[in-house]
Symmetry: none
Subunit: 410 residues, 2 copies
Amino acid sequence: MRIELINTGSELLLGFTVNTHLNYIARKLGEIGLRLERQTTIGDDRSEMRAAITEALRRCDVLIITGGLGPTSDDFTRAVVAELLGRKLIRDGAIATHIAERLRKRGIHLPESIYVQALVPKGAKVLPNHNGTAPGLAVEHNSKLVVLLPGPTRELKPMFEEFVLPMLRQRCGVTAKFDCRTFKVVGLPESAVEEKVAPALADMRDVELGYCARPGEVEVRIISNLKSSADSAEKQIRAALGDHLFGTGEEQLEEVVVRELIKTRKTIVTAESCTGGMIANRITNVSGSSEVFLNGWVTYSNDAKMKQLGVRAESLKQFGAVSEEVACEMAKNARARSGADYAVSATGIAGPTGGTPGKPVGLVFIGMATPQRTVVQRHTLVFDRETFKFFVSQYALDMVRRELLAAKLG
Amino acid sequence: MRIELINTGSELLLGFTVNTHLNYIARKLGEIGLRLERQTTIGDDRSEMRAAITEALRRCDVLIITGGLGPTSDDFTRAVVAELLGRKLIRDGAIATHIAERLRKRGIHLPESIYVQALVPKGAKVLPNHNGTAPGLAVEHNSKLVVLLPGPTRELKPMFEEFVLPMLRQRCGVTAKFDCRTFKVVGLPESAVEEKVAPALADMRDVELGYCARPGEVEVRIISNLKSSADSAEKQIRAALGDHLFGTGEEQLEEVVVRELIKTRKTIVTAESCTGGMIANRITNVSGSSEVFLNGWVTYSNDAKMKQLGVRAESLKQFGAVSEEVACEMAKNARARSGADYAVSATGIAGPTGGTPGKPVGLVFIGMATPQRTVVQRHTLVFDRETFKFFVSQYALDMVRRELLAAKLG
């Protein structure tokens, strides 16, 4: 079964938006053993769309098209597909009601044009949109399947998982044609990860091994047609990486930390300077974090460090805001003032300005206070501002993860 | 002149790598007034590559192909293109010397297979690679131009700028053929934006109009071949959108807010519950924010709201944490405790759990305290957790932006 993907949207071909749909859909297909044979990007142009869809339908069995289902004049995927497949567009009452209901709930009034989204090519299956107004559509045509998905990621992803994957699984009768597993590593650069992993898997001819370096973490990927080979490769990888391995699949470090805190009924607070709230923001991205996250301080100014967190004026004067002492006081005081089990702190120079010869851009002190002790790590992380913040938050979260792991192992 | 791009590499179709080449090349072409009409991604598969290149050459005048120029068994772009264009591959002595020289300098020995990179289709122009061993290639064929570029970004980018752009500029005799401008809107859904903008531009036949809905904002894009048309369209758009327009190009709302705060020498603090630090995090993503951002509180628990921000126990008891009263106290107290000019607050139910019939998931109160007054907005934002947080941060930042704008206009 040949599967192709067409992503529509002029912003993609103008270079304004990175095509993350391709990645997402390719990964999800891979999980059920299916692969994309080709992906095409086109702009919001009717004749280009007609040509690209016609050509793709000549080649493939399943065609997935994203974008162009919205209410504005440059959204015409629905109309073009209906035209090419010779289907009339019929207004679907249930969709119209769903749209009206969503607008009512949010208390907003929109022009009548919004109801173009209630039009359905005759015979198409409607894929409900729980996160927006435009439903997805699936049309069977000459034993080919054409699936239309809305462009916004938060609408596309749940719809793909709830409706499209089961449909493809059933259609292809696949279980898993290949077994693809991802292991996530923190605290080691890519080459060090390879140095540990590659020798352990050197003899496994039927396992394809890949690495991907991301900001603050490295992914190790294995693909195999045999479950037993994947199992034994996984065992080797886990042994080789030890506690550098923090998760699998798409797991985020903050999810692992929140999960372990919930399990052990411990609480945490954050005291941030240079990360500006990113650590708290990442923790509170995890559903259930309110069970363990009490509060956070973002003490950006020296005044706030003293007033809100009780950092001593003498420490700021003698050592400077970016210092081991201040990171230590921030973590210790945050823990004491909140009554939490753990506190993390970060103070550093995100840049691009603010560096001095003694304290260059990228210098950061990351603190952790626990019931037993307060520790501070010193790093120099020379990146753009947002990447710097992410790296620091990664180190801070990893300190807590390792602390929880050590407590677990006794 | 029709330009197409083919990106090769199985990692792209497996979803392991985001295609940033597309963005880079599209933007660079845009800078000299050229556009991509189509982009295709294929895996490392000879017959798929043959088909995709053949089809693209039927449609376009310039074909750019990236990847597959390396020395390993899955690199065969060079060979496939030579075969399709009926050109012999000839070993180029200068390239072979360049490769040998690079290896000598780095002190590494590689298998003889590395010299496959010195093969050139007869008549092709060699594009030197200053950052790797594989040169790029440009072949003129039946008045079409085929350009092959190496996959690694650090090799592709300088080569594209040094050789490919000048070649295309000369070929097309272009200065800037189109003028592309983006306007960013907050506080209006996509269809409402169109309702305002479309009638104003109805008569402008030579201006292409596009919309892109992103979480919490909408982009309006105009493209025109005439600067004067773009200017007059921009004037119409600005008039139609009024204060809903917050920026242009890639400007972020937090950048606009920080810039205006710096200009007016005002300071800000944040008091966040449901956003968990995201507002502070966005503000501190902006370089220079330390001039205006004093500090933030992330008071997630009720206890923290009382202890750190002085929210009254009676307010929490009588109205609940998610209420207009608590949002109001959070903003007012944060402003008073910090001495900042402005304070924003947010308290709501991010979900997916925690909703009740009276206070459903998505309900949020967003407060702002200024020297003159304290105001609270109520919204219901039914999204996944991270999108919810982003929307709330967007509304909060927009309240400050409008306040600063009103102050400016007197």
